[in-house]
């Protein structure tokens, strides 16, 4: 299991606060609407705990998007079905949403959120990553063939109050990438 020192945890938290704020800002600019966000929660999870977290996404639309580069991992975005129409409206989609349009909306919002979130913290830590194309995700089956023992998950909620839009972004960092991400953090702490 990954263990972060208190200092490392604090530093990472600070970086996440700033970068997620930037992400919310970018999103707000794009859709011309105020976006509220939760304080990012950073947690190292066992495969079982992570599985449990995915269980909670079943009632929402979900999409996943992997990133590769100096750190690797996956972003899973889940969007509550309720607020989709309202968001689609301000994003200039045709209403009512049909199946294809709903998928397109979810993938687009996923791409925007994961792009914004990831860019914020990689640029702060001077890491380079590249996002791959997002894909729809149905976390119905348990993850099989797990070859990792822990994953660092950064969880942020984005909300647009007046339209019931609620999206949760989970950034999962692979085991090797955590060490990679900690290098610049430790360097910052030593300064």
């Amino acid at each position: 299991m990954i263990t972060l020192s208190e200092e490392e945890q604090d530093a990472l938290q600070e970086i996440m606060n700033i970068s997620m704020g930037q992400a919310a800002d970018a999103l707000a600019r794009l859709i011309q609407t105020k976006v509220a966000l939760s304080v990012p929660a950073i947690e190292a999870l066992s495969p079982e705990a992570f599985q449990g977290m995915l269980e909670g996404l079943k009632s929402s639309w979900s999409a996943r998007q992997s990133f590769v580069g100096s750190i690797r991992g996956e972003v899973i975005t889940s969007i509550q079905k309720e607020g989709c129409e309202a968001l689609a409206d301000i994003m200039d989609f045709d209403l009512p949403l049909d199946k294809a349009a709903t998928e397109e909306l979810v993938l687009e919002v996923t791409n925007i959120l994961s792009g914004a979130c990831l860019q914020g913290f990689t640029s702060q830590l001077e890491l380079t990553t590249q996002l791959n194309m997002p894909a729809f995700y149905y976390p119905e089956n348990a993850i099989k063939n797990i070859d990792w023992s822990s994953v660092l998950v950064i969880e942020v909620d984005f909300k647009i109050e007046h339209m019931k839009f609620d999206a949760r972004v989970l950034i999962g960092l692979s085991e090797g990438s955590i060490e990679q991400a900690l290098i610049p953090i430790r360097a910052l702490l030593e300064e």
């Binding site: 970018a26 794009l30 294809a100 791409n111 925007i112 792009g115 914004a116 860019q119 194309m133």
Partner: protein, 424 residues
Amino acid sequence: MDEVEFERVIQQMPMGACIINEQCIITFTNSAFFGGLTTRNDHLTGQNLLTIFAEQARFLKRKIDSVFVLKNPSFSYWQQRPHVFPMRSTRPITGDESQMYQNVQFMPIINHNGDVGHVCIVVTDVTAEASYFMQQTALKNELERDHKKLKQLHDELKTAQKQMLQSEKMASIGQLAAGVAHEINNPIGFVRSNLETLNDYMDKLIKTNETQKKIISKQAEPRFIALLDDVYEKNGIAFICEDLPELVEESLEGTERVRKIVNGLRDFASPDNETWCEVNLSAEIGSALIVLENEIKYKATTAVTLPEEDIVFWAKPSAIRQLLFNTMINALHAMQPMGVLSIECGYNNKDILLSISDTGCGIEPDDLARIFDPFFTTKDVGKGTGLGLSEVYATVQEHQGEVNVTSELGKGTCFEFTFKADLR
């Protein structure tokens, strides 16, 4: 590599590339993009992307805006939006599709200031993958349909098997009944004949005894007579002489009833011989009523109207028996206690008319057309085979007869059969 070589690489890349600036003015297209388009434009460079591809303008603008604002790439998939740009299929000879299926990426090109100066739109031809995917989907749907059909068939087979088992069970019940009837027939035969003999003996004994008593009362001493009277009284001989004939009479009646039941069982169970013969319909009705006596007595009273002379016609006896049995059983099942099961039989010129009616729940009008369908039943699963009335119908057909059913919900149902009296 110099700039010219780089441009040549981009020109020759097997994917469409189109670069636009912040005003959506096209600054570059490679040959795969330009050449792939089905719309004929002399040149694209310098023109507004949203004007040229006006049909997708809203979508393109949304995508491009997000790239400029967020500085992140954006994507579009063939599944949701198969043909963003009007491009022809790259399989013009062997392909089933006329338009190219595309995945599109919108990539930010960051300038020296760290801002997005341009967006590069990369169009990837995924026609082959899309086509394969769609084929697989069609195949999957077909398989699912087939699977469903097979499952249905399997279920039907299972039901049929169950019904077969049921009819086999009925057949073995028939055999059992025949066996039981045979076994009972012998002992009940000698019980009856012994009882008849006993009856005769008893008559003689009682008469002899009476005569004896008369003679003694005239000849003997009073003391001896008093003694005899005392013995008679102590043993209740007077009562015995009175009761004995009644007991024997009742026992004889009992054996007669057993005999009738046995005969009924034997008739019911007699194997399906395919031979036609003179069938006594009146007698068959009688024996059906005996077989069903147990069912009837808690459910209904019977009203049977038969002409004095027996109705005899040319028929298959076992089939007619089954017809009566099935129709009556249904009538009984339709009734709450106590209903009336009416059976009427008579002649109309050369036709034999038979009507069996009940005062039961009646048949839903929608169901009425289906009651003779094999396996149609309104009884709970496992309770009815849905074969009874289809057998009835088959028998009617075989005898060139007719059957007419009238029913009123809550009032009852009437089956009217017409058979030919001169079929032979």
